[in-house]
Symmetry: C2
Subunit: 357 residues, 2 copies
């Protein structure tokens, strides 16, 4: 029996599948890249949201993990992971009491780019009875979160220093691909100011899978956080940082309609693969029909344009789709079916899926 | 204490909230529209995925419900709902045995547009020991699923008639807004052919919330299936079928960063509100700042362009976002917080969330 038949008979379609050989290879490669650059590896679990996979990353040499939400950190802490950095301003988690509750159990590393967040963190740390380690988010070109100047970073460092519920832990960068020289200038300036404050940055963190091309280029960097590299996706192939053979995740989906000669419908739409195009044309790469184009999604329909295909798929065919953006696709599903070769070996819960707070 | 404070202290942010007064008003209005048009109401539960809300729709007069996935039908059946139409070709559910298992428990209405799907249905019905009611999906302009001609519909009707495991139940249309005259021509032609086959269509179904402007215009229609109208969203406002006061669903989200003078960050991104723009500009309407523009999403960041705002939000402010497309936003979350006025009254599980199969 083929793997496709096993998948549809055991799980139906659409079905999200990961190839564990590829996962293991990706984990090892990323660890080697960090080791070679002399920075610690702190993988971002936003991509897989699985304690099992996080532990595989730690077993391979990762220092700890990065989360984006407090709820993700709760799931990872419940699984026994202790070195956790949460890389966003956590106002909702702080004001709801959940940050204090988790900080009481284990010392977290949290992130802030403004005094309001710092105030909420101090209040949570006081409830927890244990000071919070805080890294300051700094922006060197993304225009997302993060203070824009070294002076603002130092002002926040002073606030942290003066508050006994907070402890200064360092800086968090998410440099654009071309922004590493600017990040060096930013860090050098902050570094000098920190000496004047008698503060030391234990953590100087960079991030992003595409940024592995830059790893090692920031003098003073201590660790790197990347998520997508465990699975990879069409965006990473487009960026030139992954080959098709590096893509571990695909959705097995059935062709369920061929109502027109040049078109068809998959049973996976925006509620499975998401509308996140990541700047690419179409919505995913079909392994069996590289010239088929998924040109539109309804919620449960993937619209196929088959004009480019010599051999067109038939109703009942099962095809594998590599999504444009794997992180958001994994977040749609409650479990991943893990395979090795033609065997189904395990079902992994996406335990930290849908953690809003 | 304000409702916003109650929400963040009890649940954190982002938090999906429904206003039950608006929900009840929307349910009643849609039922009245169907009653006035003389067609049965078969609401599509893809929007709310909540057995509790489905039962409110039935209590208000709905004949039954529509699902898009077998997994959704399982959840609704487990809650005691018995009249269920599933409006897609269900190959994955048929081949995995789940369709047979549910059909054994209660007679389902399923949908097909091709002989392969009919074959899978017949096999499932045989395992279930009870024939499946089948409606034939017909396309009058969407170019999604659905046979393109009355002749193809009649050929499928013949296959159904000749298979003792299947029973012909009627036709399913999803007419484009301007496609109702073409749908009438299609139906008239099929209707004549059905008489020759000695078959009768118990169900002639139309669909879509925007199509309430057309309801009553298809002679022979027996029922209408619409989903979005229970909550409404920015797309429905844009289409002119809902006012702001008809929007029952919003996401309470915190402003977590204001790193630039003209920009800010919300703690809700594509993993909360989705990248589904529905053809509109930006990603959602902010009730407190109608001139703020959510111009981009990262996974957990909403990027605010505040250049149009006289009063700009501050870090720590809680704002409410009405999503462009509510159906996909609800599918991101495990529960909805139901409020009435300034009171939190209930937490509703989105029990059929994430049903892939």
């Amino acid at each position: 029996m083929t793997l496709k038949t096993k998948i549809i008979e055991n799980f139906g379609t659409p079905c999200p599948v990961i190839d564990m050989d590829v996962v293991e290879r990706n984990i090892a490669r990323v660890q080697a890249l960090c080791d070679d650059a002399g920075v610690a590896n702190r993988p971002h679990i936003k991509t897989h949201k699985s304690p099992r996979l996080a532990k595989m990353q730690i077993a391979a040499g990762a220092k700890g993990i990065t989360c984006q939400k407090l709820g993700e950190a709760e799931v990872m802490a419940n699984a026994g992971i202790t070195d956790i950095l949460i890389a966003t301003n956590l106002l909702g988690a702080a004001r709801s009491g959940r940050l204090a509750a988790l900080q009481r159990r284990l010392p977290l590393k949290v992130c802030a780019d403004n005094p309001v967040t710092l105030g909420a963190y101090a209040a949570a740390a006081q409830v927890a009875g244990r000071p919070l380690d805080v890294v300051i988010e700094c922006d060197t070109g993304q225009e997302r979160a993060g203070v824009e100047t070294p002076n603002e970073a130092l002002e926040l460092a002073k606030i942290i220093k003066d508050n006994p519920s907070l402890r200064f832990a360092g800086l968090l960068f998410y440099p654009p691909l071309e922004g590493w020289p600017a990040t060096q200038v930013f860090w050098n300036s902050v570094s000098a100011g920190l000496s004047d404050l008698a503060l030391e940055a234990e953590i100087v963190s960079t991030g992003g899978t595409p940024n592995f091309v830059n790893i090692g280029k920031l003098e003073g960097a201590t660790e790197h956080r990347a998520g997508t590299c465990i699975f990879n996706d069409r965006m990473m192939m487009d960026a030139g940082v992954a080959a098709l053979s590096d893509c571990a995740f695909s959705v097995y989906t059935s062709v369920v309609s061929r109502a027109g000669a040049e078109r068809g419908i998959l049973d996976a739409g925006s509620k499975t693969l998401t509308s996140d195009q990541g700047g690419l044309d179409g919505y995913g790469f079909i392994l069996e029909h590289p010239n088929a184009r998924i040109h539109k999604f309804a919620e449960e329909h993937g619209f196929l344009d088959l004009r480019g295909c010599n051999e067109k798929p038939s109703v009942g065919d099962i095809v594998r789709v590599i999504p444009n953006h794997v992180c958001v696709a994994v977040n749609m599903v409650d479990q991943l079916v893990a395979v090795r070769g033609d065997e189904i070996i395990e079902v992994l819960p996406v335990a930290a899926r849908g953690m809003l707070v």
